[in-house]
């Protein structure tokens, strides 16, 4: 379903969505983040890309799994804690972030469904915003199966076509949102469609970063487990969590018990973000570490995205948001590495 929404009507529509928690990009310090808003008159003109991707809504940095206590008489007791039942609409989601959540669903929903992720995802309504102009210098979504006007993982996609949004309603969830403010939506005409298409074409020509034949990288990487590129490139790696914590698809976590009181025992089992880039991530209790150095950890990050995930799900686990390239404090550049491994072939 395609619609038109005047920019000046955005706030009125959002006003009708009071049953939902609404999130939109807001500026914190120097960067954008999704924060809860009570009204939304417009999507900011200078909005580029949020710092922490949409995944934080479905896979928060800390998720309580259950409470436990042991009060001596009754013995230990476990109380399941599930995410609050609250429907959430997020506005201004870029294609890369929406695709990120869609890719995460493969891991969290397909086998042994993860009830926490599922519930948060079912309660999430994604209102995307297409990218024209591109939000960042390091965008490369076009190389990895996405695009500036990608709709995957979205319920609605808004495209700025001047004084109005071209609205693509993509799912029943999207229809539900539009119905709540149906009076603000009009039918698009041919000019609107052309405007949208023209912008999409232009946007596609704006990329200055590309992974050459990304879909073929799996075949190349397969032979590069022992390559020296991992050592050279990881020399400067800090072993911090930036590239993975800010990645729309990285999802590694730790499970830990946190105590409110040791005696009588009372606490929570929580899941918190973790990353394959931390040295202790794979360390056994014995001290043995199958990935003992920076090079094996950099290799894991890239292999997971461009080889292992491809082998399992047939897709690349990278949506080309460019955050790991922009945010790496020492300029480790996944695009550059992947373009360089090409020349190793044969």
């Amino acid at each position: 379903m395609e619609k038109i929404l005047k920019k000046s009507d955005l706030g009125k529509w959002v006003g009708k969505l009071s049953a939902f928690d609404c999130y939109a990009p807001t500026k914190e310090n120097d960067h954008w983040e999704f924060n809860q808003v009570t009204y939304l008159d417009s999507l900011p003109e200078d909005y580029t890309q949020v710092n922490v991707p949409l995944k934080k809504v479905v896979l928060p940095n800390r998720e309580v799994l259950f409470n436990f206590e042991d009060n001596r008489n009754g013995g230990p007791h476990i109380q399941e804690v599930l995410p609050e039942e609250k429907e959430v609409v997020v506005f201004g989601v870029r294609g890369c972030d929406a695709r990120g959540v869609a890719l995460l669903s493969k891991i969290f929903s397909e086998s042994s469904p993860d009830i926490y992720f599922e519930r948060r995802k079912n309660q999430l309504y994604v209102v995307g915003l297409s990218c024209y102009p591109l939000p960042g210098d390091n965008c490369f979504c076009l190389s990895v199966g996405g695009g500036p006007f990608s709709t995957q993982g979205m319920d609605i996609l808004l495209s700025d076509i001047g004084r109005k949004y071209f609205v693509e309603v993509l799912t029943p969830k999207g229809e539900k949102l539009v119905e709540l403010g149906w009076e603000f939506f009009a039918e698009p005409n041919d000019q609107d469609r052309q405007d949208r298409l023209r912008r999409e074409k232009k946007a596609q020509e704006m990329f200055n970063l590309e992974i050459h034949e990304a879909e073929k990288k799996a075949g190349v990487l397969h032979h590069l487990f022992e390559d020296k590129i991992w050592k050279t490139e990881s020399f400067r790696c800090l072993k911090c969590g930036i590239c993975t914590y800010l990645c729309p698809t990285c999802h590694c976590f730790d499970i830990a018990d946190e105590l409110a009181s040791p005696v009588p025992l009372q606490g929570k089992r929580v899941r918190v973000w973790d990353t394959c880039q931390f040295p202790d991530f794979t360390m056994h209790s014995s001290g043995h570490n199958p990935r003992p150095d920076k090079s094996s950890r950099l290799r894991q990050r890239i292999m997971h995205k461009f080889l292992y995930f491809v082998e399992t799900y047939g897709e690349i686990m990278c949506t080309g948001c460019g955050r790991c390239v922009s945010k790496c404090p020492v300029g480790i550049d996944i695009v550059n590495i992947l373009n360089r491994v090409e020349s190793h072939e044969g």
């Binding site: 042994s112 993860d114 590694c252 976590f253 730790d254 018990d257 394959c276 794979t282 080889l307």
Partner: protein, 274 residues
């Protein structure tokens, strides 16, 4: 409860047996679920044991799935959780979730001779298969067991091993000479090389320290075992048990769900990150 994969069921420790003392102690815990439910599993699968407040540890189940009265875990005291477990008493309550992993393909081994080769605590996952095969002895050919540890006191299941000798060939070994020790002295692979089990119609199942596994495989390959006749289990740090937390992978495989049991034919194609 069932649809939340992170929620453990409560289980009572019904018996605790000290297998090995000293600085690397091993205890066997037999457990029953509190709610009277059964915990169905396959040989070679593992379970997440929770000591509430301390965390979880993935431990392989050493009893046979045919054993209906209890689940047995033989645990080496190694870190925070296993230390807490070792301090627990009979009747204490722990959390259990699982089972996890693929298990051994016993159904493919009907009529075959099974050669079990274990080292140290590595006997635990093998023990489940051995107990099952013993109970269904008519389904398999000859069973035999190689088992070694650093010293005679480091051997687990000492009483059971003694009894087992009446039923099948048991080749024990210890690393260095000890007074009164009448069996093989040397490493497990050397013992295997010494006894030369035949590869004909046989499956070798090995588990132990990584270095032992490596040399066992080398040894039995020299005896003529093909890669698909060799099975082993691998271990990595685990947290979720369901292939999501991202830490136990070797290549595209998550050991917690695609492993821990591998034929050497498969394992040798995967990155050696374990």
């Amino acid at each position: 409860m069932k649809d939340n994969p992170y929620l453990p069921q409560l289980a009572r420790i019904v018996t605790i047996k000290e297998e090995v003392g000293g600085s690397r102690p091993i205890k066997s815990f037999r457990m029953q679920l509190l709610n009277g439910h059964r915990f169905d599993f396959k040989c070679g699968q593992c379970a997440m044991i929770s000591v509430l407040g301390k965390g979880e540890s993935m431990i392989s189940i050493s009893s046979s799935p045919l054993e209906r009265d209890y689940l047995q875990f033989s645990v080496l005291k190694m870190g925070r959780v296993t230390s807490a477990l070792h301090e627990m008493e009979q009747g204490s309550i722990v959390g259990l979730r699982g089972p996890y992993g693929n298990g051994f393909p016993l159904e493919q081994w009907t009529g075959k001779n099974l050669i079990f080769i274990g080292g140290g605590i590595g006997l635990a996952p093998i023990w489940s298969v051995l107990q099952t095969a013993l109970r269904q002895q008519n389904d398999y050919g000859q069973l035999s067991l190689f088992y070694g540890a650093r010293t005679s006191s480091d051997l687990v299941f000492k009483d059971e091993l003694r009894k087992l000798k009446d039923t099948l060939p048991v080749y024990l070994s210890i690393d260095v000479e000890e007074p009164g020790w009448t069996e093989f002295v040397g490493f497990v692979p050397q013992n295997v090389a010494d006894k030369k089990p035949s590869p004909d119609n046989a499956i070798a199942i090995t588990c132990g320290p990584p270095i032992m596994i490596k040399f066992v495989i080398k040894t039995i390959q020299e005896l003529g075992f093909q890669d698909n006749q060799i099975y082993t289990t691998v271990e990595n740090k685990m947290k979720c048990g369901i292939g999501k937390c991202g830490r136990c992978n070797i290549g595209p495989h998550y050991i917690c769900k695609d492993g821990p049991v591998y034929s050497w034919a498969k394992l040798k194609t995967l990155p050696q990150e374990y």
